[in-house]
């Protein structure tokens, strides 16, 4: 394509100058000298930035941890997800850099998100030493969206999450049968797993596990917001019911247990044969039962769900009975396959697009900024999810795929930004229903100190073999104050012009974009308002994929 466009440019100029051929005493120069073909790569109308956060620290994954992270996508509309230049990633895998993965929706027909065309897919994140987790993503509008995924380190779990890793908890006979019964119990008894003698375990490919069986059990306390925030799969999922129907709604959780059994060869158990495994999970008596609208009680029946952590799909397995075991409430279930198990009521409906949020600040804000909100249900004060809003004070912000008919409390999180705070009048924001059309007003306070400024940066991407063809990107950039170590600040970038407000004069910032796993970054001491840099060379093979070989 670039060749054809260059042909047009050259051809038209040649025609003009041929037809209007002039004479001059001045030095004759080529009209195309120092001219470039500048391309607004605006084919991508919807981007999704996935923030992968360590649930124990609340920080984005480090660069080193990001390199070890595998982030893949699956689910109904996985084919819609591409990278920020529109390329379909190999094996649906996206690179994570500094805890952030950038993805986009393909501009192909049928993949434009709207209120009547929700794009839904699952993100699966795994990295060594962490519990594999999933997150459903639902997009109903074009523009920029953000998703937060919390991953749990098994050796340093967040509040409300307990993990036990027991190497060699059981062994198998040569035929793969478990040689002797084994029980893995958490130190405080939150959950236990009993593996009977003779059971055979196979991985998803049908291979039989053998030798030492290493068992990991992770229990989530459903009454702890930190545990719910790290809840694999999230609490507003789409599920497959027993009757085969697919439904969307909200979990009222009564507990979650993640189980992984792996042999020394790295084969992970998926199915059991010649027996079942018994799982006991303790449930807090403070758990809210939305059916009885009181605390949970012995005899209550709670649906049981399994999460396929490789696809992010929730499936209804049946029900579990709340039993009283010497004053402790617990579930006892028999498992025929291995995954993550969840004892939850599944209630309610979702709306495709939520009510508009209108942000009003004490002074105009240039560009946009990211604002997090932790959403809690009013009827049981339970954490639902974290919403991430790309806020411009001039435009209302719409949220995608929010619970319907439920009152919520939103606690805003500006990550200790010295520049923007949510006013006390809006902290928290109480909303009777996130669905509807009435605006939800949120007041902001912007620090008008002269130590802060707004900076614009020009970012260009060009093909290494053809520097006269320059792409003006409209995708994600980030910056971070490395003088004071502030949070990562997503940067608005349109046609290669990035604008970011709240930059502290005199401090050093790291500014970067990421493409195809490569980070292109620079450090800058902020002394002025305009910078023209970050000329990013992209390899010839990527240029060929974008523009077509020799085309």
């Amino acid at each position: 394509m670039k060749k054809k466009i260059t042909t047009i440019l050259s051809g038209l100029i040649a025609v003009v100058f041929f037809l209007g051929a002039g004479i001059s005493c001045k030095k004759i120069t080529n009209p195309l000298d120092n001219m470039q073909l500048l391309i607004d790569y605006n084919l991508i109308k919807t981007t999704i930035d996935v923030h992968v956060t360590d649930a124990a620290t609340g920080q984005l994954l480090s660069k080193e941890m990001s390199n070890a992270t595998t982030l893949t996508i699956a689910g109904r509309d996985a084919a819609a997800v591409v990278d920020v230049l529109g390329m379909t990633p190999e094996n649906n895998r996206f690179a994570v850099n500094r805890g952030i993965a950038n993805m986009a929706l393909s501009p192909k027909l049928g993949y434009t998100p709207s209120e009547t065309n929700r794009i839904s897919y699952n993100i699966i994140v795994s990295l060594p030493g962490y519990l594999t987790t999933t997150q459903q993503v639902n997009i109903t509008k074009t523009g920029r969206s953000f998703v937060n995924v919390e991953v749990i380190p098994l050796n340093e779990t967040p509040s409300g999450v307990v993990a036990i890793v027991e190497p060699g908890a059981a062994t198998t006979l040569p035929g793969g049968q478990v040689a002797a019964p084994a029980t893995v119990t958490m130190p405080d008894g939150e959950a236990s797993l009993h593996i009977p003698e003779g059971v055979v375990m196979r991985d998803a490919q049908g291979n039989t596990l053998s030798g030492n069986l290493n068992v990991t059990v992770v229990h989530f306390d459903n009454t702890d917001p930190a545990a719910l925030a790290a809840f694999p799969g999230g609490l507003t999922p789409t599920v497959e019911r027993l009757d085969g129907n697919t439904e969307s709604g909200m979990f009222y959780s009564a507990g979650f247990v993640a189980i992984e059994i792996m042999d020394d060869q790295g084969r992970q158990a998926s199915e059991f044969f010649d027996g079942t495994i018994a799982l006991t999970s303790v449930v807090s008596p403070e758990t809210y039962n939305p059916i009885t609208q009181t605390n949970i009680a012995p005899g209550d029946i709670v649906p049981l769900w399994s999460l396929d952590e490789s696809t992010g799909i929730w499936t209804e397995e049946g029900t579990a009975l709340v039993e009283n075991n010497n004053g402790t409430l617990e579930f006892n279930v028999e498992l025929t396959h291995l995954s993550y198990y969840n004892f939850d009521w599944f209630i309610g409906a979702m709306c495709e697009v939520g009510r508009p949020f209108v942000f009003t600040a004490n002074q105009p804000i240039e560009g946009s900024f990211l604002l997090k909100g932790h959403v809690y249900r009013l009827d049981d004060n339970s954490f639902i999810n974290t919403i991430m809003m790309w806020v411009s004070t001039l435009e209302p912000v719409l949220t995608s795929w929010v619970p319907q008919g439920v009152g919520v409390r939103i606690e805003w999180d500006t990550e200790n930004s010295p520049f923007i705070q949510v006013a006390a009048s809006s902290q928290p924001t109480i909303v009777d229903d996130l669905c509807g059309s009435a605006p939800i007003n949120v007041d902001l306070i912007v620090n008008n100190s002269t130590e802060f400024t707004t900076v614009t940066m020009e970012v260009s991407v060009f093909c290494v073999d053809d520097p006269d063809v320059v792409i003006k990107p409209s995708f994600t950039a980030n910056c971070q104050n490395i003088t004071s170590g502030g949070p990562v600040i997503p940067v608005e970038m349109i046609e290669g012009i990035a604008t970011v407000q709240g930059i502290k004069l005199g401090d050093t910032y790291l500014v970067w974009i990421t493409y195809d796993g490569e980070e292109y970054s620079t450090e800058v001491v902020v002394t002025q308002n305009n910078y023209s840099y970050l000329d990013v060379e992209i390899p010839a093979d990527i240029c060929e994929e974008i523009f077509g070989e020799g085309d």
Binding site: T7, G22, L38, Y41
Partner: protein, 204 residues
């Protein structure tokens, strides 16, 4: 080349002309035998279908020449003259193009309009352009009815005014910096050669 007629100190002729300013006509008033005032007009427009030049491109280009001129001829000895004056100049070159076919990028087909159009328009920096030239012959016959003149000159245009517009994906190509660069690159094109042949008929 002149037909013998009685000589008059004043005179008026009309003529037709053709040259790099196009095809046109002229009224010539003889103030005295050595000074002639010329009021003329000429025009020519050439249109080119770009697809005929490059099949991957669709669009059109045109070049327009001509203008309304008011000149004075000073005869410096038979048969040569010097001509000076001004031209309200119609000179303009313009081209508009886009790709002729849809393009596939990353498996998605984009129409030529979405990829973008490109338009370039160049006009003289001055609307009223000074002219100077030398000629051979006469634009009004000295001793007869019919005369012929040939002249060579130059029109000063000043650095051209450029309008450069792009749309769609290539919209940034015509940003302010690029417009300025293009204007600098063609600033040398500040004169236009004038070659003119004229045939006149003396009325009185």
């Amino acid at each position: 080349m002149e037909e013998e007629v009685p000589v008059s100190p004043f005179g008026l002729s009309i003529g037709v002309k053709a040259g790099t300013q196009g095809i046109g006509g002229e009224v010539v008033f003889q103030v005295n035998p050595g000074i002639h005032l010329r009021l003329g007009g000429s025009y020519y427009k050439y249109v080119q279908d770009l697809n005929q030049l490059e099949e991957q491109v669709q669009g059109e280009a045109f070049a327009k020449v001509g203008g309304v001129s008011l000149l004075a001829n000073f005869h410096i000895g038979r048969p040569f003259f010097i001509s000076v004056g001004g031209i309200y100049n119609f000179l303009e070159a313009d081209a508009f193009g886009l790709l002729s076919e849809a393009q596939t990028i990353n498996g998605v087909e984009y129409l030529p309009d979405e990829i973008g159009t490109l338009e370039l328009n160049v006009k003289p920096g001055l609307l009223l352009t000074p002219y100077a030239g030398v000629g051979f012959g006469r634009t009004i016959a000295a001793n007869g009815k019919v005369s012929f003149a040939f002249e060579l000159g130059v029109v000063y245009l000043d650095s051209p005014k450029v309008i450069f517009n792009t749309t769609g994906m290539i919209k940034p190509t015509s940003n302010e910096a690029q417009q300025k660069q293009l204007a600098e690159n063609i600033a040398w094109m500040n004169m236009y050669p004038a070659i003119n042949f004229q045939l006149s008929y003396r009325i009185f």
